[in-house]
Symmetry: C2
């Protein structure tokens, strides 16, 4: 087992044990937010035919070469085509077809003139200016051409992609299964949310926060019973979790004290511990183990420490397992909006909120940065990095940061 490794080493170790989940099909309307398990290639043009963007007349541009305000060209109106209907006639020289918005441009025609630019006289439409070939014609495939890849394997399905798939007649969408994530909080001090406080006890919040973050990631979290600080009890709970889930996340019991039993519990169940402790603050005490190809990520019991490491290590891992290609957090540069008065002997991640002001990316610290402070995760969508050995920072300092989703 490796100890006190870097965040990047820990991530690498985790990713080496990232299984691919099953794939299947879901109905189009249920596909939002899911991850594509295949490329989506257009089998048809969108739109499928050249169409008119206006109410007007479809005609042959060459018929209008000599048209002018003083000497309009008259074309015989041979048909009317509303949207949703196919033209029956071909536009021959000297003829035009009345065409409504969205209707297919008839064979022979290569331009459309708007109603309001014409006059009708003796069943003829009068054209007062020259048109160019292609004018006011939306070509077939303007939005998507047949053969275009409209989305790639590993992409998260967004509302416009749902719409494009509807256009293409895709009723069943190939997607990855959603990762099942078992969540276990450990600690003799934990009460459940419905219990009244008792001396020395606190209510379990970590399971609920983590489950909610997993749900935001479109994973399938489930919360197991909180577990006392006994390696046997923790071990049995882990076995139960591994049977039902693709990954297990635990909180508590990962430090060096008498009651920190997670490491022993891993041994007890025969899981291989990948590492213990990473060199960052907050959240240094955490460990990852693997059993039967499934990862157990064991976080601190301190809410902020747990959540910072969950974002840094757990979220990319879950996204990758879910099949996403964009599983790493984007790295951005931010300007600190507040002073941060503490020194950072260790590499530190600061919780904050992105503020775009005058086109500049600022980070506003969201509140107290203590290990146990959960409220500063509210609104937090940035973890900014302070390099080891830094002194206090002043507002205006530039930091590298991970942008959380």
């Amino acid at each position: 087992m490796r100890k006190n490794i870097s965040l990047e080493e820990a991530q690498e170790l985790l990713m080496e044990h990232c299984p691919s989940l099953q794939t299947g099909y879901v109905g189009l309307q249920d596909s939002l937010g899911r991850v594509l398990a295949e490329d989506i290639v257009a089998k048809e043009n969108i739109p499928p035919f050249a169409r008119s963007p206006y109410d007007g007349y479809a005609l042959r541009a060459e018929d209008t070469v000599k048209a002018s305000p003083d000497s309009p060209v008259g074309l015989e109106i041979i048909e009317e085509v509303p949207a949703g209907y196919a033209p029956k006639k071909i536009v021959l020289p000297g003829t035009a077809v009345k065409i409504l918005t969205g209707a297919p441009v008839p064979e022979g025609a290569d331009a459309v003139i708007k109603f309001e630019e014409t006059e009708v006289k003796d069943k003829k439409v009068l054209i007062f200016s020259k048109l160019k070939a292609g004018q006011n014609v939306v070509p077939a495939g303007e939005d998507v051409a047949q053969g275009d890849k409209i989305a790639c394997l590993g992409a998260v399905i967004s509302p416009p992609l749902v719409g494009l798939m509807a256009s293409l007649g895709i009723t069943e969408v190939p997607v990855y299964e959603r990762p099942r994530i078992a969540i276990i909080s450990t600690g003799d001090e934990l009460l459940d949310v419905y219990e009244p406080l008792q001396p020395g006890k606190i209510r379990n919040s970590n399971s609920y926060t983590l489950a909610a973050y997993c749900r935001e990631l479109e994973a399938q979290p489930f919360i197991l019973a909180t577990t006392r600080d006994k390696k046997e009890e923790v071990g049995l709970r882990l076995i139960e979790a591994l049977e039902k889930a693709d990954m297990v996340i635990t909180t508590g019991g990962v430090s060096v004290g008498d009651y920190d039993v997670l490491d022993e519990a891993m041994e007890y169940i025969g899981a291989e511990t990948l590492y213990w402790k990473i060199d960052i603050k907050p959240g240094s005490p955490n460990l990852a183990a693997v059993k039967g190809g499934k990862v157990i990520l064991s976080l601190s019991g301190n809410p902020a420490a747990a959540l910072v490491v969950f974002h840094l290590l757990g979220v990319p891992y879950i996204k990758k397992m879910a099949g996403r290609v964009d599983y790493l957090h984007p790295k951005i540069e931010v300007t600190l909006k507040n002073d941060f008065s503490k020194a950072s002997p260790r590499r530190r991640f600061l919780r904050g909120k992105l503020r775009l002001e005058k086109g500049i990316a600022f980070m506003e610290v969201t509140g107290g940065q203590g290990n146990g402070v959960l409220h500063s995760m509210i609104g937090c969508n940035i973890l900014a990095e302070i390099p080891a050995g830094s002194g206090p920072l002043q507002a205006g300092s530039k930091l590298s940061a991970f942008l959380l989703d």
Copy 2:
């Protein structure tokens, strides 16, 4: 009815007809993403008691005043308190309590020294340095103090808020009902997603795209049957929709042509049309009407035109109806990453994606900007505004933009 009004006037007219939805309670785990219907005020401290962040000894700081490496102070160990248990004894002068991470600091003690900084000899713990009162003690209420407002009415419930509510023992959360939104696409040319293409026909994508966006907003969309371009048919469908929904969104039939029947349909069912057409591109042809206090927002049939107006007018309206206080899109400044070669005689909104590079907010145009182009909505999280009368824009131009969620 007002015609050709500004976006801002249209928004004002809509917001004048924005009902408040019912409120109710949901279980804590179902509350993620819902909108709070009451402020959440902490009835207890989090943590509820002063606790130790380390394994160590709780003691009276004044007992250590004379402690030094050469002349340690010895304190009698009178008890051991693991996390989850209440101390039974009071720390009197000359005594200390062994305390584990997360355990309550006993009465009488005001500081904690870490295990690794001590030695134990003859049932006494030896202290080699002076401690300050409060040292290594996490005070009660460090995260949230009793009486603190942890979240306000109208806030969207995030994972850390779920966690904080768990800490406070809140099992049932007061929330607004989710808006029910009926979606109707109109047009003789429309096929449903499962139908094969036919000459002159296209598949309905708008209903699916809009429903997916509504779902992302935590609203409850439902898609009604597509409807032909007849005012009576559209009218009856609107009546059906108004019975079931808090709001109706339609697409198609809002321009000036022979088959644009939405305006007539409103008259037919006795709805009051609030406005027709707004002075922007794309999406100028749209209208809003109200009947029985419920709004019908009728968008263009062209996907991009429909979606731009949906984002500009529909999304803030739906968020407000859902009870959110942050219902307006944040306005930001962006630097254009690409050239945009068209002139903009009218006020125009450009679809793009936010890119943060070297701390600067850039906008990358997501693709073709035609009215019918849906694929450029993929990845679009910005609508940048080009003022009326602008010429072509070069990369590097600065624009004001709405940041979409």
